[in-house]
């Protein structure tokens, strides 16, 4: 694993909200092709880290290096353009668009047609539109919800919405897929299906950064795990080691050793 080149480096990233230090000089590295877990109690700064990485927040200090290039991620669409796609903790789909349209929006970044193309509907635009549709269908197949392609996103079941969000993120052709609590609210069967999906995504060459509360899922999936507590990275290692780390146990259980 360690021969793989670095994909993402976070260098002392800090983010404050007024007096609250949401992130304190967090540094971590993610290698190409791994599934990297981010765990920690509620409010530990995991989602803040995601938001800084994807340009939704601007970090006060520190920076990210992605694929060898320093990120100037002052806008989310730029982060998406360099190859960082994400999902949201509280699912953010385009509810009144169909499942396939949601994925088609994800293709926006990698397609070109502008106003003139749309109005004249020339051959190039039609071909591109067909390619967008085809790719969107493939992705719906990939995440296993193609039967629901023409249902409105808001009518999908919770688990299917999570999958659709992943499909939409994959449509942007990311190098790094950042999943924010994808298993939240899922039952055992759904979580297991998700595990298989995420493993597949990783096998197909997309590096995965995973925030998750489901410890079993994280331990089963991730090669390496970082633990956040009060905005600091308190531990980073393979799951088996992290699990036994006293600082982690303290963060989760408040000192009383289980």
């Amino acid at each position: 694993m360690s021969e793989q080149p670095l994909l993402l480096e976070a260098h002392e990233v800090a983010k404050h909200f007024g007096g609250v230090k949401a992130l304190q000089d967090v540094s971590l590295t993610i290698r190409r092709g791994e599934i990297y877990g981010l765990i920690g109690p509620n409010g530990a700064g995991k989602t803040t880290f995601f938001n800084c990485l994807t340009g939704l927040y601007k970090n006060e200090s520190g920076h990210f290096v992605f694929d060898g290039v320093r990120l100037e991620a002052d806008a989310p669409h730029k982060a998406a353009a360099v190859g960082i796609a994400r999902t949201f903790q509280n699912i953010r789909l385009f509810g009144n668009m169909t499942a396939i349209e949601n994925v088609m929006v994800g293709r926006h970044l990698r397609t070109r047609a502008g106003v003139l193309g749309a109005i004249t509907r020339n051959a190039a635009t039609r071909a591109e539109e067909a390619a967008i549709t085809r790719r969107a269908e493939e992705l719906l197949h990939y995440v296993g919800i193609h039967e629901r392609a023409h249902d409105y996103a808001k009518h999908l079941s919770y688990g299917d919405q999570r999958r659709l969000e992943i499909a939409r993120a994959l449509a942007t052709e990311p190098k790094l897929l950042a999943l924010d609590e994808p298993a939240a609210g899922m039952n055992g069967t759904e979580t297991e299906a998700l595990r298989v999906l995420v493993e597949g995504i990783c096998r197909d060459g997309v590096t995965v950064l995973l925030i998750e509360h489901d410890v079993k899922l994280v331990m089963g999936l991730c090669r390496r795990v970082a633990v956040f507590d009060y905005g600091e990275k308190i531990c980073e290692d393979v799951p088996a080691v992290v699990q036994k780390d006293p600082r982690v146990i303290e963060a989760y259980l408040g000192g009383s050793v289980a």
Partner: protein, 358 residues
């Protein structure tokens, strides 16, 4: 496969409907002409407003940006035409130069207004655009000193009509053995323009750009995360809408032969917005219906109320003009109360409203 994902596309209608519509569109100016050229002019204005409303529909209906200053772009187009085709400066450029120029200028103003303001949302954007609309009108009103550019409140008169070679749209003439009055000629020109804007609307809606607008309307943060440069895409909607406003303004100036700042009041912006909202935001047939109704009904009232009052009471009791606004307002309130999604809404908007009602 193709077209599988399109909703509410006019092309799905049976051919019978298209034929019927063509026949009606062809007959309107002649039927209206029976009641006098004034009615043809009203029909013309109805179509001009269809054009304007569909232009605004791109901004309000598709991209979801509340623009209360749309009339500013209409004014820019109108004044561009007026200044470049009238004795005011002694410049008489042909329409095919001025109309695109007016559209371009309006587009530029759209970008100028949009670039700094599109970070604002909802009410705030509405306030800024409202202010912009007023600024443009006030400029037109006062740009007569020290250098007389717009001729102030007197406006600009004797504007050239649209003319192709010897064929002038303002005079009556005979084509294919049919005698057409000036307004009737303009009618057909306006129908062509309206069809053009309808095609643009439909095609934009079902395109990469149209999907992006919808995505932004649905969830701007998610749209950004999907890699959409929301500022540019919103600016694009603004610029598109403004260009159509500019074209409409040019045609308006040519048709009237006269422009003054009075025509570009806030009321005008609100009327156009009402057409979009009342008819059904984002839904092309709805917007057309809204524009035709809101142009036609007040005129019908204007011409109908006076004889009605004389017949019933033997004299005039209520001034038709004030009654017109009263009925107009009441109609708006009733529609918003009983059909909040508009008279002819898209299934899309119905769902969105159902969602907020939950």
């Amino acid at each position: 496969m193709k077209g599988q994902f399109r909703r509410s596309v006019a092309g799905q209608r049976p051919w019978l409907g298209v034929l019927l519509l063509t026949a009606v569109l062809l007959l309107v100016p002649f039927v209206a002409g029976l009641g006098g050229q004034a009615w043809v002019r009203i029909a013309n204005f109805a179509i001009l407003y269809v054009f304007l409303a569909l232009g605004l529909n791109i901004v309000v209906g598709y991209a979801g940006l509340l623009d209360l200053g749309y009339v500013a772009f209409y004014a820019v187009g109108a004044y561009t035409y007026a200044l470049l085709a009238s004795p005011h400066f002694g410049i008489h450029l042909p329409f095919w130069v001025i109309l695109p120029l007016g559209a371009g200028l309006a587009c530029m103003f759209g970008v100028l207004l949009g670039a700094p303001t599109l970070k604002l949302r909802g009410d705030y954007l509405a306030i800024v655009t409202l202010g912009f609309g007023e600024i443009v009108r006030i400029f037109m009103n006062n740009l007569n000193a020290p250098v007389n550019i717009t001729n102030g409140a007197q406006g600009i008169t004797l504007i050239d009509p649209i003319r192709i070679g010897d064929f002038s749209f303002s005079q009556s003439g005979t084509i294919f053995g049919i005698t057409l009055s000036g307004p009737q000629k303009y009618y057909f020109l306006l129908v062509v323009l309206a069809l053009l804007v309808i095609v643009v609307n439909v095609r934009l809606q079902n395109s990469r750009i149209g999907r992006s607008w919808q995505a932004i309307r649905e969830d701007e943060v998610a749209a950004k995360a999907c890699g959409i440069n929301t500022r540019n895409i919103k600016l694009l909607a603004f610029a598109m809408g403004a260009s159509f406003g500019g074209i409409a303004g040019g045609v308006f100036a040519a048709m009237q032969g006269f422009v003054s700042p009075e025509s570009f009041s806030l009321m005008e912006s609100i009327t156009i917005l009402s057409m979009v909202v009342l008819g059904g935001m984002g839904h092309i047939p709805g917007v057309i219906l809204g524009a035709v109704l809101l142009t036609g009904l007040p005129e019908v009232l204007r011409y109908g109320i006076e004889p009605l009052q004389r017949a019933v009471f033997g004299r005039m009791i209520v001034d038709p003009e004030s009654l017109r606004m009263l009925v107009f307002g009441l109609a708006l309130v009733l529609v918003m109360r009983f059909r909040p999604a508009g008279l002819w809404p898209s299934s899309q908007r119905l769902r969105e409203l159902a969602e907020t009602a939950d």
